[in-house]
């Protein structure tokens, strides 16, 4: 279970540039729920993800991941609870390391790292099997440097990396935004498959309303640092992209000039 309790985040507090990014956000996500998060730029989506990941320490409030209170824990200290896939395919893996080395690194997420060889025969075989499941032919390129892969291939490997070690929550930060439509679809289907097969609790930030409604069990809309919409179950099933856009307009009290981007 994930619990955000009255989270406030203020950047540059007490300076002329003070910015209230999150204004008392409370959220409870049951185990095994796949939540999609939408909102315009600056709404606070990334900040919510950052608060869960440990990149952002909230000004007030409490964060619980699983059964652990992690409010003040840094990214590295809570990595055992949180798995992530970044928006930038280059950010989530090490280009200078090989595919299998990246996997070895991820397999020990949140654990102590000793002097055992990172790539013993058994681990190698295990990684190979997991990569073969992608059907991208990458299992024959395990020793290739990660930066030889395309963005889509890197995101696919990143998804596998995120599931090698256990976690309480999987954070997906617009992880298909940098990909071409075909690859984005492949990665989304893979995400769906991994999340449902492994019964993961997941939080996916997206700019695509279509994605937000098509995938997951629950959709949250953020605006100006607050949760303005939270739908799940039957009411979510009948919700259309057009409804979301209408809601967006009403909330912002203005005509959106970037409809095309939002419908995507």
């Amino acid at each position: 279970m994930i619990k955000l309790d009255n989270i406030q985040v203020v950047f540059g507090k007490g300076t002329p540039l003070e910015k209230r990014a999150l204004n008392s956000v409370s959220l409870i996500i049951e185990e095994g729920t796949f939540v999609t998060v939408i909102g315009s730029n600056g709404a606070g989506k990334s900040t919510v993800l950052g608060v869960l990941a440990g990149d952002v320490i909230p000004t007030a409030g409490q964060v619980t991941v699983g059964n652990t209170e992690v409010t003040r824990k840094g990214t590295a200290a809570r990595a055992g609870l949180v798995a992530r896939v970044f928006q930038d395919p280059l950010a989530g893996s090490c280009g200078a390391l090989s595919i299998e080395e990246n996997l070895a690194l991820a397999a020990k997420r949140g654990e102590n790292r000793g002097l055992t060889p990172a790539l013993g025969t058994k681990r190698r075989e295990h990684f190979r099997e997991r990569i073969a499941e992608l059907n991208l032919g990458l299992e024959n390129r395990m020793k290739d440097r990660m930066d030889l892969l395309s963005g889509g291939q890197r995101q696919a490997v990143s998804l596998v990396m995120a599931t090698l070690a256990g976690s309480e929550v999987l954070l997906l930060d617009e992880h298909t935004a940098a990909l071409d439509p075909g690859m984005a679809e492949f990665i989304m289907n893979l995400t769906q498959k991994i999340v449902s097969e492994r019964k993961l609790t997941a939080l996916m930030v997206t700019h695509s309303m279509r994605q937000a409604l098509d995938f997951g069990d629950r959709t949250i809309m953020l605006h100006a640092g607050e949760v303005v919409l939270d739908v799940s179950g039957d009411s979510r099933k009948t919700l259309q992209v057009e409804d979301l856009i209408a809601m967006f307009r009403r909330i912002r009290g203005q005509t959106l000039d970037d409809d095309a981007l939002l419908i995507g």
Binding site: A79, F86, G92, C94, L105, G110, R113, L115
Partner: protein, 292 residues
Amino acid sequence: MSQIAFWGAVELGLVYAFVALGVFLAFRVLDFPDLTVDGSFPLGAAVTAVLIIAGVNPWLASGVAMVAGAAAGIVTAILNVRFRILNLLASILTMIALFSVNLRVMGKPNVALINADTMLSPFYGLGLRDFYVRPLFVAFLVAVAAVAVWRFLESDAGLAMRATGANARMARAQGVDTSRQIYLGMAMSNALVALGGALFAQTNGFADVTSGVGTIVVGLAAVIIGETLLGSRGILIALAGCVLGSILYRIAIQLALSTDMLGLQASDLNLVTAALVTLALVLPRLRRGGAA
């Protein structure tokens, strides 16, 4: 070039191979441009020389030198990680400070080790001429160090350090405490460099406070020559490249200085060094430019 001069160059190259391994850890693995080595190399020499003269076992003295080098590396890491000083500047501060520290350690600018027992003493007079004994002995230690570094970098812990240098944000997301990796890596790097200094003092019979000048350039030259020759195909090859690069660099210098035709003299060493390093830096780029 005489045989003695040749083996002398090989020996010096092997001593500086420790510097190359240290520089590889800092520059290539951690992506930390570390000039501390200009201070930690003579620090290793100074600590070893002073301890050996005081009657301490030379192996123990060299071990203490490594600890001193590690401490110097940690100081640089603290300046960078805790106090957020730019990495290059942090290492320059430590380097400058170490000049005074080294003078304090020795009490004078130069300490001679002429008749003292060194790590090499038991191996002289076993039938092999001295100018073979020295490079053989140092080569053995270099091999041990290189294998140790290799095993480490291919372990789980070493992978964490490599990730820290390659993509710190990703490393943290994988639960790697990147600050700790910088402390650890800088300590290891400068311990190796100090061991190089310790062996320099014992093979050359003296420790000198100015012997550190340009250490970083020599170490970097070795790393780059190695990369140019062997390419970057895995850790073991890269480490072998560091050792090979260091030896070839010394032979090249020796050749340049001993060829009368060029009219060079010993005092031209730094100029020749700078020219060789520039060449080593530019050549790969030219080659890539030609291929593209």
